[in-house]
Amino acid sequence: MKITVRYFALLRERAGRDAEVLAWDDAEPTVQRFRAHLAEHVPALAAMLGDRSLLVAVNREYATAATALKDGDEVALLPPVTGG
């Protein structure tokens, strides 16, 4: 399936891009497993992807490690927010 990944703030800078579409298939397509896949795909982000403070939004809603992904989903990687 295809997943659109969006990177923000420090992750965007480390990844060197703000978005990409990845083809990914997994028997248990959860956010947690996708994070592990991304850590291999973008080694520069491996440490940050392993940090629990990094939040994930799926289709613009906060997701958990167990959230299931489906074809066409947008996965956004969100460092701890610092607005205001």
Partner: protein, 144 residues
């Protein structure tokens, strides 16, 4: 009444504090008080000088979270109306960052609703700041 999206928005340009105050006031003549919070860029942070701050947001999700926050604050504190505006892009010390205007029948709800709103905004709305100082720029890790 203005569409709600005007009452929970992200924009690059400066906001007009008096106009936003007027916007929440004119919602209802039941309003007995408005509490305004304006967050401003400081020229220091954690012992370093700050020359500018870049605010990055997640377009679409940031506005949606601001709208959810607005709805939640209105129902939680029984507010009559609430406006939240957050800026994006590069801001200099002294520039306004965020405005929250909470209107209620009585002041206690307005103060509490406004205070809760800015605290929650800092936890849930996908906006990030990169502070620029004479010795370099850093993305803030988390709120102190």
């Amino acid at each position: 009444m203005a569409p709600d999206r005007e009452k929970a928005r992200v924009q690059r340009e400066p906001f007009d504090v008096a106009a936003e105050l007027e916007r929440v006031k004119r919602t209802s003549l039941r309003t007995g008080g408005v509490v305004l919070f304006v967050g401003v860029v400081r020229d220091f942070s954690q012992g370093r000088g700050v020359t500018k701050i870049l605010f990055e947001h997640f377009p679409g999700m940031a506005e949606a979270k601001l709208a959810e926050l607005r709805d939640a604050a209105i129902s939680r504190y029984g507010l009559i109306d609430l406006v939240i505006v957050h800026r994006c892009g590069e801001l200099a010390p002294g520039d306004d960052i965020v405005l929250i205007a909470a209107a209620a029948e009585h002041r206690a709800a307005a103060f509490e609703g406004c205070s809760w709103c800015i605290d929650e905004l800092k936890k849930v709305v996908p906006i990030w700041k990169k502070e620029h100082a004479p010795d370099g720029a850093v993305w803030l890790e988390a709120h102190p």
